[in-house]
Symmetry: C3
Subunit: 148 residues, 3 copies
């Protein structure tokens, strides 16, 4: 029922991998801020870089909040997207959801942590993926509700 | 071996989706506290809502700790539950584990972030899902230990 | 195409379960520090243990940073490893990647939160798994790029 030759499945695989790499980039955005400001979270890091320990630098914390927001959202997409594929969605529609999700999350990171913009830029880039997840989640629950 | 017609698989899909939606609810519980107290984590949010930046409001932080606790626990359930299905568990037993897990995590959120209760309410709601995950994890490792 | 009899799949299942259990251990490392120092994050926990609320104890925060680092890295491995299996990797090579990833992440936890070591111990234990994930992520994206 779920086959690797299904274009919806291929789309899920591609965008899930892109999102995973996007999450990995966050660690480098944080490190870039830490080295730019020379502030670190651990004694041993400050020592090896001749910087200091500081846990409330606003530029570092902004990137860390964007990173945490990814953790709050993207693993939920990975599971909901995979389970949504088992409900036999129309392939072009599923691919559109996955693509919209991924592009919005990338924009979210940019307007949050790379080039901060006034609201509602980030709110919109946050809400579109949330709506995609609720839509898939409700589709899954409706489809399997008899297993309650 | 793992088939969508297996009731254990259907149960896994249903409860995993419910848990994903439950995680998404946490962002709204946090937002509700932020707007009630008018405290925000980012300058641009405070500006658009005429509130102030404050990172240590106790009511907001309580919901955020509950959210983080979900991130520490629920993705591990998603993977362990899926892998546990490959060990051919008895369907009714697997469904009981998934249902118990999900109900306990929902109670955890309620007693942590919605209506805080004295301990050991939260400790019990935390430990039951932990035991379910260790049980499934040990079953998986035992089954595949020859792949070490 | 992805079969439970494939040694690469069995290796993925085994190491993913080991990593999930490793993440669960972090909660107990945090609790151990909390009880040793008698500091807690919530009023109701401090009350039931006759301790005090303190959110900046350095020993507790160190374990919490190690835990958060797991959340930033290990779910991305779970999804990338699973998707990588769909690209028909050579089994022994895939198993080597999964084993290297898992061993490095366990060392990361030890040198971060159990027995802190000077850098670059933790940096190396962090970078090896990051390289494994980028390698798998690029392999997946290359394989499915036509689904963009």
């Amino acid at each position: 029922m779920v086959s690797l030759s299904d274009p919806a499945v291929q789309s899920y695989i591609l965008y899930s991998a892109i999102l995973a790499l996007k999450v990995l980039v966050m660690a480098f955005l944080t490190a870039r801020q830490r080295y730019a400001k020379n502030v670190f979270a651990n004694e041993e890091d400050a020592k090896s870089s001749k910087g200091k320990v500081k846990l409330d630098d606003p530029d570092v914390e902004r990137v860390r909040r964007a990173h945490l927001n990814d953790l709050e959202n993207i693993p939920a997409f990975w599971i909901l997207g995979a389970l949504y594929l088992t409900t036999s969605p129309e392939a072009a529609w599923a691919a559109l959801l996955f693509r919209t999700y991924t592009v919005s999350r990338i924009i979210h990171t940019i307007v949050y942590a790379v080039k901060p913009l006034p609201q509602p830029a980030r709110a919109i880039a946050f809400m579109i993926p949330v709506v995609v997840k609720w839509y898939m989640g409700i589709a899954i629950v409706s489809n399997y509700i008899s297993a309650l």
